[in-house]
């Protein structure tokens, strides 16, 4: 975008759900169906080791995937696979397997 007026047109932050492709979350759901019952309560993020020291946020990452905002490739590597999240999820989502499923999905689609 040209800057010759001294400013640039800001990008739209609004999630345009109509234009987003849900192919990533659909594949992850197929690998780990318990993920469908996630209610974004944040208990996983509260206990997460990585969240204490980086901006990794599992609740937010899954919410974003569900909206079709798919740039998670770098983020997912911050998880240490310690498994604390799975211990506390009230819905019984196998969150540790969700992380592994996301990694498999990234490979599957060559992201």
């Amino acid at each position: 975008m040209s800057n010759f007026f001294g400013y640039q047109i800001h990008n739209d932050r609004q999630i345009n759900f109509d234009n987003n492709d849900l192919y990533i979350i659909k594949y992850v759901d197929s690998l780990e169906p318990t993920l469908k019952t996630c209610i974004s309560c944040g208990t996983c993020t509260a206990t997460c080791t990585a969240t204490q020291f980086t901006n990794f946020n599992l609740r937010k990452l899954i919410t974003m995937l569900r909206r079709g905002e798919n740039n998670i490739k770098e983020e997912i590597n911050k998880c240490m696979l310690c498994g604390k999240c799975s211990l506390v999820c009230p819905r019984g989502v196998n969150t540790r397997n969700v992380i592994l499923a996301i990694k498999k999905t990234i490979n599957y689609f060559n992201l």
Binding site: Q14, I15, P33, S40, T63
Partner: protein, 352 residues
């Protein structure tokens, strides 16, 4: 000793209270302004959380008033009520006649009205063709007609908006209407059963799944039917060029604004105090609480008792209730009235 009790409103509460009072051998006259009893129950096809048919409950209630020999008068309009020492003279019109009945007690079961969704101007109900209420949707379910957009096509995406007319300072109803969240989940599941290819989205502030089996229903909606729940209150609805509805919401859990087109937008409307309640309240001098529903003598232990001796309440006229709670409340009212009529000492208990 046999007494005369007049019950105003033959909805769920009126019918069940009439049944129980009639079964105690009292003379019960049940007045209803519509041509049929049942109130709003007639408008619900399937009930949460079991998805059983509402008409089964209606038949159950109707059987009750038959067995208890309740005198049901439909198309009855109350003109006025006057107090006469310990009794009430109720003057009503029925079948072109004006009738006066002296009652030893009155039970008010005037129920609720649904919120008029045109008051939420930003959602465009009554303006945009594809915006309907949960009551409209339930009516479509009862008729068995296919669910279609205004142009006649099957919808591919349906959105539900929670808290329409409830928890809202702007429309003057700040309370929670209790039953709309679970109704939204119920209708979402019903839509997925009828239209498996349709994506369903629910836009909520909180998911109030307080009742037994409600949480399981919520989980089932996600797990088996793939309903997507987005936490965020819809701020405005507009019409796209093809007639579909564009909604704007903040995806609070993603901390970003979101916009989405849906083919049908369903507004989950709340309960408001009914016009019937206002009219009867004026005739009898009944106090209302801060939210406009009738004020009960005590919120914990005297929920069937009004500020006028001899006048009692049951059902949604005192606060939004589920059908289960309404039936329980009606039977409690019957028992309370019976104790009142025999001057039983347990009725003398007071609370400050």
């Amino acid at each position: 000793m046999k007494k005369t009790i007049i019950i105003i409103g033959a909805g769920i509460a009126g019918m069940e209270a009439a049944t129980f009072l009639g079964s105690m051998e009292h003379n019960v006259i049940l007045l209803e302004k519509d041509q049929e009893p049942g109130g709003h129950l007639k408008n619900w096809q399937k009930l949460f959380p079991t998805l059983r048919y509402g008409k089964e409950i209606l038949s159950f209630l109707q059987e009750g008033i038959k067995i208890a020999k309740v005198d049901l008068k439909c198309n009855a309009i109350i003109n006025n009520i006057t107090k006469n020492n310990n009794t009430f003279i109720v003057n009503y019109s029925h079948q072109q006649q004006e009738i006066n009945i002296e009652a030893d007690a009155i039970l008010v079961t005037t129920g609720y009205d649904t919120f008029d969704a045109t008051k939420k101007e930003e959602y465009g109900y009554g303006i945009y063709d594809n915006v309907i209420t949960s009551a409209d949707l339930e009516k479509i379910f009862t008729t068995g007609k296919p669910i279609i957009t205004a142009k006649g096509d099957p919808p591919k995406k349906i959105g539900f908006v929670h808290c329409v007319g409830s928890r809202d300072e702007k429309v003057g109803h700040v309370y929670c209407s209790k039953v709309c969240c679970v109704t939204g989940v119920k209708q979402a599941i019903e839509i997925k059963e009828l239209l498996p290819q349709c994506d369903v989205f629910c836009f909520y502030m909180d998911m109030r799944m307080y009742g037994m089996h409600f949480e399981a229903m919520y989980k089932k909606a996600q797990e088996e039917y793939g309903v997507t729940f987005i936490r965020g209150r819809v701020s405005e609805a507009c019409e796209n060029i093809d007639g579909s509805i564009l909604i704007k919401v903040e995806d609070t859990l993603a901390a970003r604004p979101l916009k989405m087109s849906v083919d049908l937008l369903v507004l989950l409307i709340g309960f408001v105090p009914s016009e019937g309640s206002k009219m009867v309240g004026n005739m009898l001098g009944l106090q209302t609480g801060v939210n406009g529903f009738y004020k009960t003598a005590d919120q914990h232990a005297l929920t069937n008792i009004s500020n006028v001796p001899g006048v009692f309440f049951a059902g949604a006229c005192t606060s939004p209730k589920t059908i289960t709670n309404t039936i329980t409340d009606a039977r409690a009212a019957a028992s309370t009235i019976a104790r009142y009529l025999e001057n039983n000492p347990i009725f003398q208990r007071k609370l400050t």
